[in-house]
Every structure is written in structure tokens, then in C-alpha cells.
Symmetry: C2
């Protein structure tokens, strides 16, 4: 269907998208102005990087075209990844509160039969195309970007893409083809009952009674915490210690311990140094055989296996059609301008490897667009703020305490609970703020942990770490401030205007020490 | 008791404080080093300003003494004000979620008999001395500040305070005596059943069945929303439109409308342009007679009246003993260095008038200390970030859209839901992030509102406004960035690394427009 001359509203877009998702033969959605003009870039892939890159290129006065196989823009995030993950994690936090306060205060007795993984997935599925509708609407009406959706583009050469029976050419090509979950090479991995984050929302059709998670990074912790919070007993099987996977950097050990201990406190079984050796069952998962840290094996009876074992870039077509150079994990190799080995071909987002994060995808797209439009730009994503969910929100930026101690001779720590030994903090209602007040006053050991790492000589904040709620948004700005050339000093931080009770207490805690010329921990 | 040579742990401090609160004759708590040395400053009042001021003065190498009538440091905030308010507001957010989802998803049927105002107060009362214990411990052991607690200091002259039968002298005096709730001059205001934020936690001994709130500012909205969320039907009676009281600045009209409409959606009765003319009852409140906006009167049957009608500085002693100049609302007059009209006497915090906020109190204390220690300092608190709670967290900083339009010729707005007319956003699951995901997917109109105000010519962010959850912490940094001399441009903001889904979507929304040389709204 050609909607280039129409101005669909959100409800109409919703219907278009839902129909396309239900009917494989629905055909392409064309929003193309056929005026014979030349495209500055074709964005093959309209996910986070492609959509933001195209919008930016258009904002700079250029002409982009997005091509995507899905009937909506925005990619996997709103369809299968970060959006459902946030819904599930938010639900996990609610259920966790209820479980801890079962039958206390205003909470009814915890009833595990009430919380359903399947119902939460269905809630998400009913709503997701509303977000899609908005992005299609916005990209056309507000951002004035042309696109072809619901049709798989085929790379012809470095300036040509065939899609929906038509051929489009452009001065440049920006590849944003994403990544796909990888599965470990384990017998039985193809059995029914084995899921990843994508197939979970697309295919789960029963209520899991017992969950086994494979992996030790973000996805494993996030989904595992959700399943367990619904009342589905969960085991995590991880080769590395949790949060010590290669994809996570700058994880402070105290933060890690608080997070993992917190999962154990909630009854999750965590098997570190372990790996699955077989998944067994008669057509459907019945058990996972695990090799444990001590070399012995154990069988875990389960009807549900969830793989959080990473993703690999979808680079095959680009490699085969254009000959772009790829790295050892299938990632398309790019320089800091997002240029591939093939002239006028850029690659962005998950396709170029980790970190497979939203900020990186979007800013890759913009970096490519700036270069295409003649504004030289580089994007260094070697340092960035990060987060994950358990039943908590966990955020960090900059150096861990240990990393800082290796780099600087005098490191001070400001944290809550305080950085002193043997203080009886078991009733201390700190830290506390939004979403931790009930914990602080009734179960203080659950109310969170926060730490600031400071180089005493320069007085600069070099790391910040938080477990609790309500600090994630702030860490975007902390990242910006810490990584400015002149950094963020304890004096500047202590001079800010806190909104008390602030989820992280960094401003006021800094201020209590900032008066000293020789800094000490707190 | 003299604890100067002891190192009480938190449990021992808890017991000392609880005993003192229960027994009016418990006597002073002395943490004083009698070495004949001279104090640089006596802080009369150990609340937020006194405690932080003294800690900072000590950190600079000076010698402070704090004197406070309460047996703990930290003042009214952890005892009666911001801490219980946060507990109650956090509970209100939880109850609100439950009420909207009553009998849906994993939520049981809403049962108003379960949620009890009195029980939440008792939960707070059981825990508050643990926070007090920590502050007493920290101030002595980590911050090395001397103090006399649980004894009312008497001002003798500008360098002398008598307390606990002893006389202390210092080079300077820092007055941090706080403020007390004011009551409107209405017949019946002294009846049992009329409360303010302080007497609520100290004296409430029954479960209110119906609440009438007087006031239209933060306290009225915060406590009123909590009472109503527990199932206690609540009416707010306010002379001004809600959030248009003199104590609140920079409240954007769209933000205000979302907040107040949200309260109405939840069934709160809001009477603007109205005021109580009598509170009636036989020894105890039975009804409030209200003059309505149209001049008519109405009687509201109620067993509970809550006054959110502001506070007046406790300046009488300072005026009478020292002759410090005071202003029309009893506030001690100070310059930007916190100096009063009397040499070597400083005043800080709520005692000098509004804004009666934590950041101001603490930074006043530090400003006084810097000046006392010979480091000239001024503190301008004319601009600051602000927040309040309803069942939402509401935050704002900088200019409203209207203020910006009066000041700049070309203002653009970036907001979610988007700044377009007649778009059918009723199913739009945006904004969304932590704590709004269920709303976004099931009741999208409840998931919040956010707006960024930008001066197109300078490209600078001049205001930010948010209703939802999880952005309060970030607004501390937004305030810092916006008010730096070089400000925060849409380009800088759009260049940051978002932690997606971020509670406020400002980074990515800015980025969608930042590519344009001529900015337009989104």
C-alpha cells in the first residue's frame, strides 16, 4: 500500500501494522515520494540506528530512505527487546514488593497463582503496535522521512537496494541490520520449551512452572528475575560469575555482590561456573543437565529454558553482496566514522558488535549521517553508562573502586550504607527514596546500595554505582559530567541543588566531605 | 549524659533517642570536648542547615558546636516532614496502581479496608529513630562535630548561648531555628481532628474516614493524595488554583493541568477559589464550612482536617534576645552571605523564609561556614529545581513555556505526548519507563507527561517539566546544566548517552530535532 499521500492517524497506523503482522502476504508499505530526486542515503534497517540516523540526515537537509522488513520502524526494541523487558522488570519490582510484604501492611497474602508470565506477555502484545504506530506516524509526519516497510531489501551493490519489486539507488548506504540471539551448542537446544527474548514474546503459549536461565549477563538477570518474581522458581546457569560476562564493563564488586546476594535472598538458585551439557525431553523440555563448578553434573527438572547467551550481528548479506569486512564475531568492521571497508557504505548499531545498546545504535546512525552530509564526525563508545534490572534497577558509570585504586594512588569512597566496618546498619533506613521507602522502614537491608568513587588528588568523581530505583535517568547526566574534559569534582557535585530525598544521595554525601582539603571516605 | 568519650553504635543511639523522646526529663546529651578551646561557631539548631553547616565548618578545620532541643540531629525532616512525606507518597503510588488495576492482571480486588493512614504513620514512627541514630553517630564519629542535644539553648548575646546549665561562647553564631506550621484564622481551628504535617505523625490516634485538606501547595497535594489513595475520600480546599500558590514558582500550565486532572480522575474533590470559614464540631471536627468560588457556602462532613497552609520562621527568640532584623513574614533578614543585621550572627534555613527546602537549608549552613572560616561565599537560591508528589512524582526546573515565550521570540517545545493537535494519542504507550510500564500498556493516559522548553535562537534548554516517576534525581543535574553560564544546548543534550527506556525521554527527543539549524517543536 502506498501511504505517501495519506496522513494516517495512530489508530489507522495500528491497524495497518497489525494486519501486516498477521498476514504474511500483506505486501509492502510505501511512503516514497517519486520525484526522481536522489537519495543521500538508504538506511537498510529501520531500527534504532536507522530511524535516528535517517531522521538526523533529513534534519540536516538531506534525503534518506529507510527500508525495513518489519511493517514498523524502531526495530527489535519496541517489538521484542527493551520495551517488553522494561514491562517485565517493572512488574518484577511490583511483585517483589508484594512478596516481601505478603499479608503485611496493606498487602494481601502473596498468591503465586495470580502472577502469570503469559498474561504479561499478552499485555505487551496487545499494546506494542501502538508504539509502532507512533513511530511510523512520527517518522513520516514530524520527521519527514521516506520509507519502505514490510519488505525485505536486497543489497545489489554499494549504491543499490532492491525492495518490493523496485530498485532504489543512493549516494550512500547505511547498514543497520541488527543482530540475532545465539544459542550454545548443546544437544536438545532445539526442543520446544527453549526460548530467547524474541521467541519468548512471539511463541510462548503455556505458563512455565519452573525456569532455567542460561547466561550471566543482563538478559539472564533481567528475565530470570522476572520469571522468579512471578512465582516461577528459577535457576540461573552461568559459566562466568553473574555480571562478570565479557559484555559488561566497570561492574563494581560491592555492587555486584549486593545485586547477586539480593537475587539469592529472593530464592533464586544461582549456579556459577556451570554450563548446560544437554537439554532433554520428549519433544519438549523436561530437564537440563548441567555441569557444575566442581565438575559434577546435575539434572534440573524444568518445562522452560531461557537463553541469555548473547547475539551475533546479521552481517551475512552485507558480507556476501558487498564484501564488507567482518570481525571474528560476525561484526561488520567500521572506523569511528561508521565507515565500513567498502566506500560509501556505513554500518551502525548491533551490526557492528557490542555494546548492543540503544544509545550506541542511535548515535551510530547520527554519526553516519553527519559524515554523509559532509560534517566529519566520530563516535567513541568505549565509555558509557550502563544499567540492568533484577527486581532492582542497577546503574553504573565510570570506574569501579578496584579500577580506580589501580589507576590512582589515593581513592576515596562515599557510599550508603557508609564505608565503615562493623557498624550495625541492619536497621538503618538508608539509602531511601521513591520506591524504597517501605523497604527502608520495614526491611532496611533491601533498600539499596550506592557508591561514589573519587580520585582524591584531582577531587574528581571517577565512578558512580547504584542499586535501588529512580537513579537511572540521572546516570545519563552523571556520565556526561564525569566524562567532560574537566570532569566533575566533589566540590561541584556538593554544590548542586538536591531534590531530597534523592534516590542517589551523592550530592549531599559529597558535600559532607567537600569542605576538607584532604579528602577522606564516608 | 555525656557521650563524648563513648562510641555508641546505631542500636545504642536508637535507645538513647527513644528514651529521650519518651521521657521529658531525660536530660541533655552532651558530646562536648572540654579542652578550653574556642568555638568558631555555635549552630543553634541542628537541623539540615545546622548539621551540614557545622560539618562543613569542621571539614574546613574549624570548630563548631551544635545545640538542639531535640535528642537527634537532622531537624524536622526525618522526624516529621520530608521523610514521612516520602514514605506516604511512595505508598500512595503503590495504592494508586492497585486501585487502577483492581482485580486485573495480578492485582487482587481493591480493598479500601486494608490501607490505613494510621498504620503507615506507625510504621514511620517505629523506624524514624533509626535515621536519627545514624545522624547522631555520623556527626560525631565521621564528621567529628561536637553537640549538645535534648536541651533548649537560650540566646544570651551574639556570642553566648546558655544550654543545659552551661554557657558556651563562640566567635560566631549561626541560627537555624526553623519554622512552624501556621494556621488560618478560622473558628474551630483548635478542635481535635485538625492536623498539620507535624501533629499528624505525633498525634493522630484514629483512622480518618473523610479528609478535608486546606491549601493548594505542595503539602496539600502530597498529603491529600496520600489520604485519598488509602481510600479516605478527600477534598482539597484552596484559595488559589492548585500549584499556583506564592511558594511555587515556574509551574508550567500543561504540567499543572496534567497533575490536577490526574487528581480529579482519581476521585479527589478539588475546590479552587474556596476557603474554610468555620470548622465545626462538638469537641472534635464534624464538618468544615467552606465559602466556594461563587460566593456560596457549603458544609463538608468530615472527621479529619489537614492544614497545608504554610510555615512561619521561628524568629521570636533571635529578635528578642539579639535584635536581629526580621521581615514581614517573621523571616530573619540576611544577605547572600547569610549575615543577619547583627555582626557575627548568621541565620540559615527555614528561619530566613522560603523556599523551605532541603537544598537551601544545607547550602545556607555551608555558606555561613565558609564566610566564618574566611572564605567569602554567597548563595543565590532564586532559581532551583523543584518537585512535589501526588500519586506521581512531579518535577520541574527553569522556565515554563509561557515564561519562555514572554522572554524569547522563538521558543520550541519538545514533549511527550507530542506537541501536535488532534493526534489520537489515547492508546499511545508513551511516555513510559520504570513504574509507568503497566500504565503505558493498559491505561496509557496515566503514564505521564514531559516537556522541554528551548530557546531556538541560542538552542539552549531553558525549562524542563516532568510528571511520572524516576526523573527527580536527574533534575538535580539538569538544574546544574541549565544554569551553568554556558547553559545546556539541545545539541549537547542530544549528544548524551541515554539509558533507554529513560524516565524522561529528553535526550532522544532532542536528538530527533538537533540536526536542524532552524529548530521546530516535536
Amino acid at each position: 500500500m502506498d501511504i505517501s499521500q495519506q496522513h494516517l492517524n495512530l489508530e489507522q497506523w495500528y491497524d495497518v501494522i497489525e494486519r501486516a503482522l498477521e498476514d504474511p502476504g500483506a505486501g509492502p508499505i510505501l511512503n516514497v515520494v517519486d520525484d526522481g530526486g536522489v537519495y543521500d542515503a538508504i538506511f537498510l534497517g529501520g531500527g534504532a540506528g536507522g530511524r535516528f540516523g535517517a531522521a538526523y540526515l533529513r534534519a540536516m537537509g538531506g534525503r534518506p530512505l529507510i527500508i525495513d522488513a518489519w511493517p514498523f520502524l524502531g526495530g527489535s526494541c519496541p517489538h521484542q527487546a527493551c520495551v517488553p523487558h522494561h514491562l517485565f522488570s517493572d512488574v518484577a519490582a511490583e511483585l517483589d514488593l508484594w512478596r516481601w510484604f505478603s499479608g503485611q501492611l496493606f498487602f494481601p497474602e502473596w498468591d503465586p497463582s495470580r502472577a502469570s508470565i503469559l498474561e504479561m506477555i499478552r499485555l505487551f502484545l496487545r499494546g506494542r503496535s501502538s508504539a509502532h504506530a507512533f513511530m511510523n506516524w512520527q517518522t513520516k509526519e514530524q520527521l519527514e522521512v521516506e520509507y519502505v516497510l514490510n519488505a525485505r531489501g536486497r543489497l545489489v551493490d554499494a549504491s543499490t537496494v532492491e525492495v518490493a519489486g523496485r530498485t532504489f539507488t543512493a549516494r550512500n548506504l547505511v547498514l543497520g541490520l541488527g543482530a540475532s540471539p545465539t544459542y550454545p551448542d548443546v544437544p536438545g537446544i532445539g526442543l520446544a520449551g527453549v526460548f530467547d527474548f524474541a521467541t519468548l514474546v512471539e511463541e510462548l503459549d503455556y505458563e512455565p512452572r519452573r525456569a532455567v536461565i542460561v547466561g550471566g549477563g543482563k538478559t539472564a538477570l533481567e528475565y530470570g528475575s522476572f520469571f522468579h518474581a512471578t512465582g516461577c522458581p528459577t535457576t540461573i546457569v552461568s559459566r562466568s560469575p553473574l555480571m562478570r560476562t565479557p559484555s559488561l564493563h566497570h561492574v563494581d564488586e560491592d555492587l555486584r555482590r549486593y545485586v547477586v546476594d539480593g537475587m539469592r535472598k529472593r530464592g533464586m538458585e544461582i549456579l556459577e561456573g556451570a554450563e548446560p551439557v544437554a537439554i532433554e525431553g520428549n519433544g519438549k523440555v523436561e530437564r537440563v543437565v548441567v555441569r557444575l563448578a566442581d565438575g559434577s553434573t546435575a539434572a534440573i527438572e524444568t518445562d522452560f529454558v531461557f537463553l541469555g547467551t548473547g547475539e551475533r550481528p546479521n552481517s551475512a548479506m552485507a558480507r556476501e553482496a558487498l564484501g564488507v569486512a567482518v570481525g571474528p564475531r560476525d561484526e561488520v568492521l567500521v572506523d569511528k566514522s561508521m565507515r565500513t571497508s567498502v566506500p560509501s557504505v556505513y554500518a551502525i548499531g548491533d551490526l557492528i558488535g557490542g555494546p548492543m545498546e540503544m544509545f550506541k545504535a542511535r548515535k551510530c546512525g547520527i554519526t553516519a549521517s553527519k559524515n554523509i552530509m559532509g560534517e566529519p564526525a566520530e563516535f567513541d563508545f568505549s565509555e558509557f553508562p550502563d544499567f540492568l534490572h533484577t527486581t532492582y534497577e542497577v546503574t553504573w558509570v565510570g570506574l569501579t573502586e578496584q579500577e580506580a585504586r589501580e589507576r590512582f594512588s589515593d581513592v576515596i569512597i562515599i557510599q550508603m550504607p557508609p564505608y565503615v566496618e562493623n557498624l550495625d546498619t541492619e536497621h538503618l533506613p538508608l539509602p531511601c527514596a521513591e520506591r524504597t521507602m517501605l523497604y527502608a522502614f520495614a526491611k532496611p537491608e533491601l533498600s539499596g546500595f550506592q557508591k561514589l568513587v573519587i580520585d582524591a588528588a584531582s577531587r574528581r568523581v571517577v565512578g558512580a554505582h547504584h542499586v535501588g530505583y529512580g537513579a537511572k535517568d540521572a546516570f545519563q547526566y552523571l556520565d556526561h559530567l564525569i566524562h567532560r574534559p574537566d570532569g566533575l569534582t566533589i566540590d561541584e557535585l556538593g554544590g548542586m541543588n538536591e531534590l531530597f530525598l534523592n534516590p542517589e544521595h551523592f550530592v549531599q554525601l559529597s558535600r559532607l566531605r567537600a569542605g576538607r582539603s584532604a579528602l577522606v571516605s564516608l
